[in-house]
Structures are given as C-alpha cells and as structure tokens.
C-alpha cells in the first residue's frame, strides 16, 4: 500500500472521531503525567542526596590515654587510604570544651561531672571522588581495625534509612508506572476497538475490494501512535510548565525548590513512551484480523 494513503486515512479518522481521540489522549496525558511526575520527584531526591555522605565525616574514637606518637600512627595509617581527604585531631579537652559550649544554657546536664568523659578522636573527611555510602562503610570498617582505635561513628543509621526510603520510593514508582502503563495500553486498546467497530462497514468494504490486513491495520496503528505521542508531548509540556511554576513561584518561599532539576531525556522519552504504549494498545486491539 502507499504509505501516504494510510496516513490520510488515519488523519481522516482522527478528525472524524475527534472527541473519542481527544478523550483517550487526555487519559494518556494524565497517566504519563503522574508517572513522570513521580519520576521527577525521585530524580530530584536522588540528585539532592547523591552527595550527602560528603557532608558526613567519620569520627574515629581513640582508646583512652593513648600516647601522642600512637595517635600520630593512627592518623598516618588513616591517611594512607586513598578515599581520605582531610584528617583533624580533636583532643578530649577540646571536645569537652565544645560540648560545654554547645550546652551553655543547660550546663546542669554536666553537673557533677568533673572528669572529662570524652575520648580523644580524629575527624576524617572523604574526598569527593570517593563519596558514597558504600565507601564510607568500608573506610569505617578499616579504621576500626587500626590499633588504638576504640570505635568509629559515621551516621550509618541515617544513610541506611535514606537508602531504604529511596528504595521504597523506587519500588512504589515502578509499581505505579506499571499500573498506569497498563492503563494507558488499555485505553488505547479500547479506543482503537471502538474506532474499529465504528468503521466496521468501511473495513468490510475495503476487504471485499481486496485490501490486505496491512492496509486495514496501518491507519489504526498510526492513529494509536498519534494518540500516544500527543499524550506524551502534552504531559511533557505540562510537567515542564509545572517545574517552572514551582521554581519561580515557590522558590521564594521554599528555597529548596530553586534547585529543582528537569531530566533532559524527558524531552525524547516521554513522546516515545507515549507512542510505544499507543501502538501496543492498537496492536492488541487489532489482534488477528479475520477474513
């Protein structure tokens, strides 16, 4: 068949049944919008927390009354590790002073404590390249084995909670996307089914004149693709506008929103995903044409 004629038929049908087509396009738009919005949220959470371990320093607590040379040994062996950026020694006196300063309005907490209960410690900062909760954990384990070290603290609870939250978000997102994608395919399926039945007479005539399955199918597949793609494009536009609205309107009140990121691959992936889902729905609806 001539490809332009299939497009012409598809266009005719899009125009003739514009309300059905518009309605399913809007449904696809809504579905893709929700999917991409949740992805956008996840994407931003991911971006905002990617470098979070950087802000955490490892605190290595030393055994009590370690002589100065031993302390230097510990510092030296920590420094040999590649991921370590800077190392700062904090003596127990310094730590106690800092504690007192922090608690200056509630000194009573320290009442009766004359002996300094705090240990000597060294604060270890990681280099940017070595960031990540995994490398922090490895470093902490290695530090614990150094002689003279009593304990290592690195905010593992927080990092692993964050990790769990992100994992949870990812799973919920995948489930949501799967459900909504199925919904979109179903919408395209029923739309094409309806259009197919509405044009049953015409299709019957086409067949009797000698039209192949391909000739009959092609316009519906094109139509499904068009509906899906336009649903994808509208959701992309809506998401983009929403993001700008949030940045310009809300960033004044909530500065966090100023750094809201928009994944560049949305510009291609949203229309393509829409098209793919549209064609899938149409293909399922056409199934096996009978002669």
């Amino acid at each position: 068949m001539t490809a332009p004629y299939a497009f012409k038929l598809a266009l005719q049908s899009l125009r003739k049944d514009k309300w059905i087509n518009l309605l399913s396009m809007l449904t696809i738009f809504a579905g893709l919008f929700i999917i991409s919005l949740s992805y956008l949220v996840f994407y931003n959470v991911e971006a905002a927390t990617r470098n979070l371990p950087e802000k955490f320093s490892l605190v290595v607590y030393l055994e009590d009354n370690l002589p100065r040379e031993k302390i230097d040994d510990v510092i030296a062996s920590v420094k040999t590790r590649r991921e370590v950026g800077s190392v700062t020694y904090i003596s127990k006196e310094e730590a106690f002073r800092e504690l007192k300063a922090t608690l200056k309005n509630s000194q009573y907490v320290l009442e009766g404590i004359d002996d300094n209960p705090l240990p000597d410690s060294i604060e270890v900062k990681l280099r940017k390249e070595a960031m990540g909760s995994e490398s922090v954990r490895k470093l902490a384990e290695a530090a614990k084995k150094i002689r003279g070290v009593s304990e290592v603290d690195y905010g593992e609870k927080f990092l692993s909670t964050l990790h769990d939250i992100k994992n949870g978000m990812r799973i919920v997102g995948i489930i949501l996307a799967a459900i909504l994608s199925t919904g979109i395919v179903f919408v395209c399926y029923s739309t094409v089914k309806i259009l197919f039945y509405r044009r049953n007479d015409e299709i019957e005539t086409f067949k009797l004149l000698g039209a192949t399955k391909g000739f009959i199918r092609a316009p519906f597949l094109i139509e499904g693709a068009a509906i899906g793609t336009s649903g994808g494009i509208t959701s992309l536009v809506a998401l983009y506008l929403l993001q700008h609205l949030v940045i310009f309107r809300m960033a004044v009140a909530v500065p966090v929103f100023r750094t809201l990121l928009f994944p560049a691959d949305f510009f291609l992936s949203l229309p393509l995903i829409g098209m793919f889902l549209g064609i899938s729905g149409a293909a399922i609806a056409l199934g096996r044409l009978k002669y």
Partner: protein, 227 residues
Amino acid sequence: MMEPAGPMIHFQNVSKEYENLTALHDITFSVGRGEMVFLTGPSGSGKTTLLKLIYLAELPDHGSITISGWDTTTLREASIPFIRRNIGVVFQDFRLLDNRNVFENVSLALRIRGVGEREVKSRVADALKTVNLRHKADSYPRRLSGGEQQRVVIARAIVAEPTVLLADEPTGNLDPDTAEGVLRTFKDIHAKGTTILVATHNRDLYRNSGKRVLRLDAGSLLGGEVC
C-alpha cells in the same frame, strides 16, 4: 495468480446452507476464460449467494470451487485479498461509503492496490466517463439517484481492470436506455478479454445476446442454454 489452462470459474457439487436453509444445492458448472455468462432465477433462488462464493465472502459447505485453477477451499487466508483483486464486483447492495464522494469511492479499488495518486486520478476519471458520471465526481452517494449510485458501483468494479467481473443485478435501478448503455460497457470490457458473470432478472439483458444463461431455482441449477 492466473494459470493458463482450465476454466476461469468452476463449481463442483457445491452446496451452501444458511442455518436451516439450503441456499444452493449441488451446483456444478464452469465459466470459461474470457466468457460472458448470465445467471438468472427468481428472487431468493441463490444468485447473490453463488457470487459471494466466488469472491470469497462465503465458503461452501460442500463441494469445491476453483478460480483460475485455485481451490478456494484450501486457500491460505493471506492470499484472499490477492484473489479478490482479480475480481471486480458490482454489489447488489452497492456498498458505497457515505462519507466519501464519488471520486474517492471509485478510487478505493485502486488505493488498496497501492496505485499512485496521479494514476488514480486519470483512471478514476476514465471509469466515471465510461458510466457517464464525470460531472458527479464530487457528489456524495446519498445525494445521488439510485441509478447514479449503481453506476458508481459499476465504475468502482471496472476501474482496476479485473480479470473477472461479477455483476449482481447491475441494472436493477436503471431505465432501459441506461441499462442498455451498461450492457454495452460490459460487452466492451468482455471484448478485451474479461470474464463476466451477470446475475439479473432483466430478460432484456440476455435475450438474443448469444451468451450462455444459467438458471437457478430454489438453489438448484436448471441448466445453461444459450439465448
């Protein structure tokens, strides 16, 4: 699809039943290549059913049908469109598409074959000229008289120059003069080698035609004498 030898259409002991009604009973006949044959019989005798078996809109319950040597009962589904492209049909119920004008309706027979736009234009114009409807190219079927609609259907059936032309009551809505014109058209096409089978009540069409006339009565073939 054309094999050189044998008849164009051959029915061998064909029967067709609708639910509990026998529409055709043990039909055996042939139409030779390039032959023009008439099919007649009272209303409900099975003429349309017989034509439908040829263009594969129905399948026989018994017997076999061969079109140009191809056994239609063992045909692969995918080859049906290609068999149909060799058969032009003037449907008794017209089957015109109301949402398309005359030009578009006639052009469909070419579009499904993938004929290019320029060729479509000239061939449709020729076909419409043959049935004297060039001036109605932009009209919609509902705005045409019954006879005009019938001629659009004829134009659509001949526009792709099929090997076989099946015409089901092609003059049912036409005055004698216009009917005469249609018959002349068929004879011209026949002269170019097209095999033609015309189902009709109209005695004027086949009287003194020198063609074979097959007679159906209540689904049975009464024989085929030359008129």
